[in-house]
Symmetry: C2
Subunit: 346 residues, 2 copies
């Protein structure tokens, strides 16, 4: 019997339209027929827009919310005063076991703080990390942390390796995903002390337990697809992700300009437009840019603030797949395995 | 009267071909007619390949070298035993005032160590930084440090701001280039302590002296062109640069695949090929990826190990322009101005 999972969705506090959310989850529902939804947002609007999705109506509960966390709110303010917001209530529902995961398009810092405070981290995982699925030459890889924790600390890097490997093993259906530590070179003497320490520890682990650590990788190896998982701290990861987004946008802009530059190139575009669309789809940050907050007792996913239905549908599919594969149990298994096989904790 | 400048070129230890170097500097010579060259490499081969460049022969001195620093050599080994190498000799020529700048395609770490040891840093500049000229939505920006110094230190970030602003003012012909500090958000409370400290100091400077500090920028702002100069530490900068290179390559690969995917798209490519070429040229790392080692008493430039003639020609042009504009004097002027106007040193 397929399991039933309920997803809480925070539908306020971003530029993402109600229409896109509904269309996206409706598409995901076609593939994941046991999905249920709790929708936190403006009830009247949601009801009206949902009329055309008969099946979605049956599996959705709408919780009317007006108050929301804005993009400018600081985490410290939110913790104090935002208990009526759609975000807070969506998280609380998961905390109270009324739903299994949260999807939000809003303020990332607030989502992280509120989730960590309410849901707490998994045993022996010190901090949550934001993971993303990054398109590469060979398919996709998991990259983390993309901004949850900007401190460089070898223990976090090790935690992130476990979190990332768990995610990759489920998403890519491989037993022992390869892990690389992001650094400025692949030689042992490269980089900062905290990274060297984490690398030594991961090497030790991979001799004893089922972890496939491949050593250092460089910035270009992320898109190159050298390893299934790329691990870094939240500062470097955030800048790396945004640099990649900026570069893709620059490339796309230059390309658009070039196609408009002459009659010949306009004819070229006419013939190549389908192919061009496929490139855009494969690399489109609106589709791929969902951040998975890993290491909490429930799954929390943050989608782009300007998501459109394909991005929503993609995120909902990933969440279902992770829930179905019991991602948190897997992480706990990894952690437990490490601790029982090695004398020293980490 | 236009000044005469001599450029020492280390022609060994990389995949860059003698042919490409000669064709590249010959092109630059057409634009910078008072250029002179010292070529450190295999004399017979260079002579033979240079036969067709009559004017280049007149302004070039060939210094026969067989020994070279390899890409695998560690800086510590090189310092001890590489005095006969083309790289060492090219640097020594500048040190002894027989030439004005160095261009190398070889081992970056070695080039930095040997240059720093022989040529020394400018007064009050603690460490050299590697700067690069990055294409963006509005034109180009200077980004540094791209790997000279991986330590995060607020003083280095301030030094890098001065070095970057000097470079940008010359390259982009603007009086007071805007400077941004790379961070994970633009709000004051974002990022690591060292960055906050540097930001506070730069704000203080910009109230008193002629420095145009604009605050924090994010990864996507590099390609977005938000500021003329983007300042970061060598760890973050290196990963950011390589991530951008990887992303551009991924985009290019997907595009090539797409154009080959059907008859229609092949026809499209036929018509759009010129436009496509212009995009490639504008973003081609083989052309743009030269790293300028700034903050030394002479100018040292490192080009990509697989450079082709356009990259060589581009680098030679930049070097000439910097020499002509007396880049090191400008840096010293900035530093001096800061010190005399502010009570506290930095």
């Amino acid at each position: 019997m397929t399991k039933v999972f309920t997803l809480s969705i925070d539908m306020l506090g971003s530029e993402t339209k109600v229409n896109d959310v509904l269309k996206g989850i409706n598409q995901s529902l076609l593939r994941n027929i046991n999905y249920k939804f709790q929708l936190y947002g403006p009830a009247n609007l949601i009801k009206k827009k949902m009329e055309k999705y008969k099946r979605l109506i049956q599996v959705s509960e709408i919780i009317d919310c007006e108050s929301f966390v804005s993009m400018d709110d600081k985490p410290s303010d939110i913790i104090r005063s935002k208990e009526n917001t759609s975000m807070y209530r969506a998280i609380k529902s998961v905390k109270d076991n009324h739903s299994n995961a949260i999807l939000s398009f809003g303020n990332t810092g607030a989502l992280m703080s509120l989730s960590t405070l309410q849901i707490k981290t998994l045993e022996n995982i010190r901090r949550p990390a934001i993971a993303s699925i990054w398109p590469n030459m060979k398919g996709e890889s998991v990259v983390l942390d993309l901004g949850a924790n900007t401190k460089l600390d070898s223990r976090y890097l090790i935690d992130n390796s476990i979190l990332g490997a768990s995610l990759a093993s489920i998403l890519f259906k491989i037993n022992c995903p390869s892990i690389g530590l992001l650094n400025v070179g692949v030689e042992d003497n490269k980089g900062r002390e905290e990274i060297k320490l984490a690398s030594d520890k991961l090497k030790e682990f991979s001799r004893n337990i089922d972890i496939n650590y491949q050593g250092y990788v460089e910035g270009n190896d992320i898109s190159g697809g050298k390893t299934n998982v790329v691990v870094t701290d939240g500062f470097t990861g955030n800048i790396s992700l945004k640099t990649a987004e900026g570069t893709a946008k620059l490339f796309q802009n230059h390309l658009n300009d070039a196609f408009r530059s002459s009659i010949l190139s306009k004819i070229g575009y006419f013939f190549a437009s389908l192919a061009m669309k496929s490139v855009r789809d494969r690399l489109d940050p609106r589709v791929h840019n969902c951040g998975i907050l890993m290491g909490l007792n429930s799954l929390v996913v943050k989608c782009h603030g300007h998501s459109e239905y394909r991005g929503v549908s993609y995120a909902a599919d990933i969440i279902y797949s992770l829930l179905e594969n019991n991602v948190n149990n897997r992480i706990q298994h990894y952690v437990h395995e490490m601790q029982s096989k090695l004398k020293k904790g980490f």
